[in-house]
């Protein structure tokens, strides 16, 4: 619902310009390279420090987390994780994971189906009003979500859907995240038109062209969209905060908030531990798909 712009992804998952050609103006000395590498390593250390600190702190006893300069725990313990597994307020932590997982997987399915359909219509079908709607779709890319949250809440409240997953999922199944539609439109437009034309001459209608030609060819865009749809849903805080009231429906970010706001000093370690656990699925996605993600982001600024 509130896709943060900072993690914006690809518009074209085409490989970013690979330069095999080594520019002549870049001849550098060995010392230059050493200094270059040293500077980069220092920056990497600073950037990754918070993550490293977080993981190691989750193995420190709560009392040691504050006031200990050392990164490494003096008395390593898994007590924080044991505490997390006991749940909070009588609700096992698995429940929060499952809720987050259901929403994230549902979001992926919704985004893939609805956005690919809309993208096909915009990129491949000629119909009255398509340009107008396309323009409006682009405009919603820049729309601050603030103007939508209150009326959407009122609508879902009138429909009696508060404290269900419906409001969080229905927006995904109705392609309201223009970002994904735009990404797929750009991708489809780069496919050769001849394939569609040949199929259409052979009598295939639009549904057949869509399922047999377009969908298989835009797989890279579908994968990229799926990854981002999953991560955004997994990280989403405002949506669940608005719509989910009972703790048994909470997603991980809401559960994290419970820990963060309620926990006494003795639970400090548990709060860090569950924060680490919540990031694990994203870390997995990152390690598996990092090329995909980074290459995707790389091309958006240039082709978008």
């Amino acid at each position: 619902m509130t896709a943060t712009q900072t993690e914006l992804a690809p518009v074209l998952p085409v490989e970013a310009a690979k330069h095999t050609r080594k520019p002549v103006w870049k001849k550098r000395s060995t010392w230059g390279t050493v200094i270059w590498a040293a500077v980069l390593i220092v920056i990497v250390a600073v950037v990754l420090y918070p993550l490293l600190w977080m993981v190691l702190a989750s193995f420190k006893p709560s009392a040691e987390i504050n006031g200990n300069v050392s990164l490494l725990p003096e008395q390593p313990t898994i007590q924080n994780y044991v505490k997390v597994l006991q749940g909070i307020g009588g609700i096992p932590v698995v429940t929060f994971f499952l809720n987050s997982l259901i929403l994230a997987v549902g979001s992926v399915i919704g985004v893939v189906i609805s956005s690919s359909m809309a993208a096909y219509a915009f990129a491949r079908v000629r119909f009255a009003g398509s340009k107008l709607f396309f323009g409006m779709m682009i405009a919603t890319l820049l729309l601050p979500f603030h103007v939508l949250i209150i009326p959407q809440y009122i609508i879902f409240q009138r429909l009696g859907l508060i404290d269900t997953f419906v409001p969080l999922l229905v927006v995904k199944f109705l392609a309201t995240e223009a970002f994904f539609v735009f990404l797929m439109v750009q991708f489809i437009r780069n496919l050769p038109m001849e394939l569609d034309e040949a199929a259409r001459i052979d009598g295939a209608g639009h549904p057949r062209v869509f399922f047999s030609i377009t969908l298989p060819l835009i797989k890279p865009a579908l994968v990229t969209s799926s990854i981002f749809a999953f991560i955004w849903s997994w990280n989403d805080f405002l949506g669940p905060l608005l719509y989910l009231n009972s703790p048994s429906n909470y997603t991980l970010p809401l559960a994290l908030r419970l820990y963060n706001d309620q926990s006494s000093v003795s639970d400090y370690g548990a709060t860090i531990a569950i924060s680490v656990l919540a990031l694990i699925p994203i870390a997995l996605f990152f390690f598996i798909f990092q090329r995909f993600l980074v290459e995707g982001v790389a091309t958006q600024g240039l082709k978008g």
Binding site: Q5, A118, I154, G203, L256
Partner: protein
């Protein structure tokens, strides 16, 4: 745009017809009276667009209009909205908390975004110094952008900048004692900006791709003319990169306006200490869903929409003076 089905292609029949399936070309050639191509396209177009259309009208355009109406009313979700004209808007300017949230958000956007983009450009240029062996660095720098807006990171940030947290302790070792950042209204903003700058990876990756596209010949020519590094940066890199700078600036500023989760978590939902994390979105949330002042919050939302719209318009309009689309160089 080459998005439309071109009629003349009917003459190019054999291309790829092997993959056609049972509905072969014979049926078409038989000239069976069917709906015209145009009508069928029209029907198909709207069928494919149905989910988006419902989403657009029911969940975007409709709510926008409802929100516009509510901006002129007093509404608490339970009794009927009461029309009060421009009262919500006049009230805003006499609301010190509102004014504070505007000031905080503008500071965050106008100070944080340039620093973040400068960091992104600087590191991108460092990475561009060599063409090999940068993959690891690029991925490592990008990682924070994926998780930066999450609750987990907000919790960690708060823990790190707490008094006796690693940042405070580290500064103490250096002989600097500022105490905890989280509880100090003057230091909360730098802490939030640092969190934003930490996520410089996404714009950096875009800058890097842009830098790779600058033809090496331009630098060679500059070398021949005896230009130093600064001059090359000013006269080649910046102008050639200006479309990417524009894109990043637009994206990052709009993103910065919407900051919510980190501020909400760091202040435990209060916007404190002393209102120092009372960002626009946090305040809007509190008014709408804490105090059920739906009308006032809607007015805030529309004011933001108008301001962001004007800002984007101005940015687009002025872009022609500083954004260089290198048509003559390609």
């Amino acid at each position: 745009m080459t998005t439309t089905h071109r009629q003349e292609s009917h003459t190019a029949a054999p291309l790829g017809s092997g993959s056609s399936g049972p509905t072969g070309s014979a049926r078409r050639a038989g000239g069976r009276p069917r709906l015209s191509e145009k009508k069928r396209d029209g029907i198909a177009g709207y069928l494919f667009l149905t989910p988006w259309l419902i989403g657009f009208f029911v969940l975007t355009l409709g709510p926008m209009l409802i929100s516009l109406y509510l901006a002129f009313t007093k509404y608490n979700l339970f009794t009927a909205p009461e029309f009060i004209g421009l009262d919500n808007f006049t009230r805003m300017f006499n609301d010190p908390q509102f004014m504070q949230s505007v000031q905080i958000t503008l500071t965050y956007v106008l100070v944080g975004t340039p620093i973040k983009l400068a960091a992104a450009l600087g590191v991108a240029m460092l990475l561009n110094y060599r063409s090999r062996g940068t993959g690891f660095f690029r991925s490592a720098f990008y990682a924070p952008s994926l998780i930066g807006a999450s609750v987990s990171v907000a919790i960690v940030w708060r823990a790190m900048f707490n008094s006796d947290g690693p940042v405070d302790t580290g500064l103490n070792v250096l002989g600097i004692d500022v105490g905890g950042w989280v509880g100090n209204p003057a230091l909360v903003m730098p802490m939030m900006i640092l969190l934003a700058v930490w996520q410089f990876g996404a714009p950096m990756v875009i800058f890097l791709a842009g830098l790779k596209q600058i033809p090496g010949e331009l630098y060679e020519a500059a070398d021949v003319d005896g230009a130093g590094s600064w001059r090359k940066f000013r006269s080649v890199t910046l102008p050639m990169l200006s479309p990417v700078i524009f894109f990043n600036l637009l994206l990052e500023m709009i993103g910065a306006f919407q900051i919510f989760a980190s501020a909400f978590i760091i202040s435990s939902g209060t916007g404190g200490p002393a209102g120092s994390t009372n960002f626009y979105t946090v305040y809007l949330y509190q008014r709408a869903f804490g105090d059920l002042q739906m009308g006032y919050a809607s007015a805030m939302a529309w004011l933001l929409l108008v301001v962001v719209g004007i800002a984007a318009f101005v940015l687009f309009r002025t872009s022609k003076f500083w954004v260089h689309y290198g048509g003559d160089l390609k």
